[in-house]
């Protein structure tokens, strides 16, 4: 009607809302920041207990460490031993831990403990392999191997289907004669290594994937071996004992290759036991850990990185924007009136300490008594600023009196009156007395009740724990609030109170 409406404000509002929501969604989806407080996540503590019987001289124990763990990430690990030096050979593909000691008495127990959490990440399992040399075996194995390879080649189209077909034959209920030779023969190979040997004969690279299943709880979890074949571009994983393709989701890959998990030098391995325990931890801590590992900076530039006492300050402060938004909404969309624009927000913050009913009672008592005294001061004809100061002093005295009285009476609620914003209350009393005289007691009381109603509403909304949580964990949601507030600033429609005020004009 009057002007071509500028879309600038709304565009900005939309941008802020989308930006806030995008950051929010990213933090939730990428790092699992918990949307609700008290959410827990699951972690697994995996412990390897190694018993070794030392020889007479120096001893070393080498152990493969979990390095590339598809589906999981390491959050914490410890090496526990008495008197051993430890060194980690940090290779990009495989880490190896070495415990060493010059002289050891009796049997020694070494522990490795790692904490893992679920983490969807794409991990390359192993470096691009070289083509293996075909194995050279004695007869009749060499002939049998050649026949198996010929047969499978006829029945397959590429590397992956070749591997699948080898495993089908390997796991057949009644294996063919050639295969049975390997399975039952004196070579003593497991299915994984038979499969590897057959595929080596076809010059297909195969690596062993060794790991454990992350179960609820296990005191002696068995090590399992899976095989991965490389087709020139990527790895495909198979279960050698069933032929199934793909790593199961609960499989924690420990190490890749044929090396043993633990290899002692100058000592004898007595026992190796892997135990697993599932635990619940705070989802927030875990998400922060994920964010840290991803190098996103979310963990460093977070309110949660502040000292705890400052965090609790911000927990309250960050509710003020919410209160301000509520005020803007109640005033420009609903059309309520209040003394002082943001007075209800400050009162609402005070209500957090006093609780609602006690807060309303205390506020009413202090303002009423203050108003009575203010009417008396009117008769003294004081100048404005001294009169305001006098009202302020009276408000502070009243607050102290209420605290002392409630202490005597054993009413705890009265003590927290000290948190009321006294300057604001003094201004409310002053404004209210003016309205009282200029527009009558009815208007003054109505405006006073209006202010309290807004404060109570703001208190109830700000008191929702979820909002305090979001404010602290997802401060980016303030951008959403800012966007909505800007959009509200462009609202030119009717206020609800105008629907009443102009009702006689309705057509």
């Amino acid at each position: 009607m009057i002007m071509k409406r500028s879309t600038h404000g709304l565009t900005l509002a939309l941008f802020l809302v989308l930006a806030g929501l995008a950051i929010f969604a990213w933090k939730v989806r990428a790092f699992g920041f918990p949307v609700f407080p008290d959410e827990t996540s699951v972690v697994w503590t995996v412990q390897a207990q190694i018993s070794v019987d030392p020889g007479p001289g120096a001893m070393k124990v080498a152990m493969q460490l979990p390095t590339r763990t598809p589906g999981y990430a390491l959050s914490d690990e410890h090496f526990i031993s008495r008197g051993f030096g430890t060194a980690v050979d940090d290779d990009r593909w495989q880490r190896e831990l070495t415990w060493s000691v010059r002289r050891a008495a009796k049997e020694q127990t070494l522990y490795y403990r790692g904490v893992f959490f679920e983490n969807d990440q794409d991990v390359e399992l192993a470096p691009r392999p070289k083509f293996p040399k075909p194995p050279e075996l004695d007869e009749p194995y060499q002939t049998a191997l050649g026949e198996i390879v010929e047969e499978v080649r006829d029945e397959s189209a590429d590397v992956v289907s070749f591997a699948a077909q080898v495993l089908v034959k390997l796991n057949a209920p009644a294996p063919e004669d050639n295969m049975a030779l390997f399975l039952q023969g004196p070579l003593g190979l497991d299915k994984a290594h038979i499969a590897q040997m057959i595929m080596s004969a076809a010059r297909i690279p195969v690596v062993m994937l060794n790991g454990v299943r992350l179960v609820e709880q296990a005191r002696a979890a068995p090590l399992e071996t899976w095989i991965a074949v490389h087709n020139g571009t990527g790895w495909t994983v198979f279960d050698p004992n069933s032929g199934n393709q793909g790593l199961p989701s609960d499989f924690l890959l420990w190490w890749v290759g044929d090396a043993p998990m633990v290899e002692p030098t100058g000592a004898r391995l007595d026992d190796l036991r892997i135990s697993i325990r599932r635990q619940s931890v705070s989802a927030l801590n875990l998400a922060t850990e994920r964010a840290r590992q991803a190098g996103s900076g979310v963990d460093e530039f977070s309110l949660l990185a502040l000292p705890l006492d400052l965090q609790s300050v911000y927990e309250v402060l960050l509710l003020v924007p919410l209160g301000a938004f509520i005020i803007a909404f109640l005033r420009n969309v609903i059309g309520l009136r209040s003394f002082g624009t943001f007075m209800p927000v400050l009162i609402a913050l005070a209500f957090r300490e006093t609780q609602l009913v006690a807060g309303l009672v205390l506020f009413t008592v202090i303002v009423s008594v203050g108003l009575l005294i203010r009417f008396y001061l009117e008769k003294l004809r004081l100048l404005l600023v001294p009169r305001l100061s006098a009202v302020l002093i009276i408000v502070v005295l009243l607050m102290a009196a209420v605290s002392v009285l409630s202490q005597r009476l054993g009413v705890d609620a009265g003590l927290s009156v000290a948190l009321f914003p006294m300057v604001i209350i003094a201004m409310v009393i002053e404004r209210m007395s003016i309205v009282w005289e200029e527009h009558g007691p009815g208007n003054a009381i109505l405006d006073g009740i209006g202010s309290l109603a807004i404060a109570a509403f703001a208190y109830l909304v700000m008191g929702i724990d979820l909002f305090a949580w979001w404010a602290l964990v997802f401060p980016e949601l303030m951008l959403v609030l800012l966007g909505l507030t800007i959009a509200l600033g462009r609202y030119t429609g009717y206020r609800v109170t105008e629907l009443i005020r102009f009702r006689e004009l309705a057509k």
Binding site: M1, I2, M3, N332, G335, R381, L383, L384, V385, I434, E438, H439, R490, Y491, T492, G493, Y494, R495, E498, L499, I500, R501, F502, R503, E504, L505, A506, K507
Partner: protein, 321 residues
């Protein structure tokens, strides 16, 4: 009658909402630097006087608390005057003295004020009790308008005033505010005065409200408040249009009183005129604003704008039906 109107009903009636008034009239058409010209009543009076526009006479200005006690000297020989905060809003802090009883001053509401009480009121005004942001203020002493008895039947004490909304220099809506017993003789709608809409084209009152309720008679005098012909209407419309040129505000409320000797006087200007005028007229502002926007009227000189308004802003205009 229903408690609520639906938003679409108000839209159909062309009611201008507070939010839209703020966003699309005040913020767009009223430049902030022009505000002091109207917010400061002393400055406003001087600006209008400089253009030879009729205003109530200024007795004096009290700007310091220390002077409040000596104000009486300025009032020597006067028993009728008005005290106004120079930066007041909504009629707050205005004190109208109509006579003297011995050494006390008689206010419109019948209360007697001694000099001490008047001095206290002046210091309150000066310390900013009634000013727009609580800023220190000045107290303006103004001659009381010898108001035209033409309104005697439909006004209870006090001075009735005429409010004209001037949009981009074109008077678009008008009402007369008639004091009642409830409003203590003040022409202030939210204090209980009667608001009667005036047809821009004829100068006849069309409908009236008290608060938000439509009435046909004055609540105290029982005289009909509709079909009353406002005297010197053409001159009033032209004066309102002229005010736009004096202060440059695109959305302006002009308050005019009728003096029995001097005719229409401009009492004050308002940069944020309220919307109750729509209730008093039983009509929304938006169709009229749209009519002005669609016409070339804002580009005309003041007298021609006033003429355009009297010719076009009428119930007979199909665009406003």
């Amino acid at each position: 009658m229903k408690l609520f109107a639906r938003p679409d009903q108000l839209r159909a009636a062309g009611v201008l909402s507070l939010n839209r008034r703020n966003a699309e009239c005040i913020m767009r058409l009223n430049s902030r630097k022009a505000y002091p010209l109207v917010d400061d009543k002393v400055l406003c009076k001087k600006t209008l006087e400089a253009r030879n526009m009729p205003v109530p006479g200024l007795i004096g200005v009290v700007a310091r608390s220390g002077d409040a006690g000596r104000f009486a000297r300025k009032l020597v020989g006067r028993d009728q005057f008005v005290i106004k905060p120079a930066n007041g809003s909504g009629g707050d802090g205005i004190l109208v003295i109509t006579g003297r009883r011995k050494d006390k001053y008689l206010a419109t509401d019948g209360r007697l004020w001694d000099e001490d009480e008047l001095a206290h009121h002046l210091t309150n005004v000066i310390s900013g009790l009634y000013s727009l942001g609580g800023q220190p203020d000045k107290a303006m002493l103004e001659e009381l308008v010898a108001f035209d008895p033409v309104f005697d039947l439909i006004a209870f004490q006090g001075v009735p005033d005429i409010r004209v909304i001037v949009y981009r220099g074109v008077p678009v809506m008008a009402m007369v505010r008639l004091p009642t017993r409830a409003s203590h003789g003040k022409a202030n709608l939210h204090q209980g005065a009667v608001g009667a809409g005036i047809c821009i084209s004829t100068g006849l009152t069309t409908s009236a409200v008290v608060g938000n309720h439509q009435v046909r008679e004055h609540v105290d005098t029982a005289a009909s408040v509709v079909d009353f012909a406002v005297p010197q209407w053409e001159k009033i419309v032209e004066m309102a249009a002229n005010c736009h040129d004096a202060v440059g505000l695109g959305y302006l409320g002009v308050d005019i009183v009728l003096d029995k000797n001097r005719g229409p006087l401009i009492l004050e200007l308002n940069a944020r005129p309220g919307l109750n005028i729509q209730i008093a007229n039983g009509a929304g502002l938006r169709p009229r604003l749209a009519l002005v926007d669609a016409s070339g009227a804002p580009g005309l000189p003041a007298a021609e704008r006033a003429l355009w308004a009297r010719q076009n802003i009428t119930p007979e205009n199909p665009a406003l039906a």
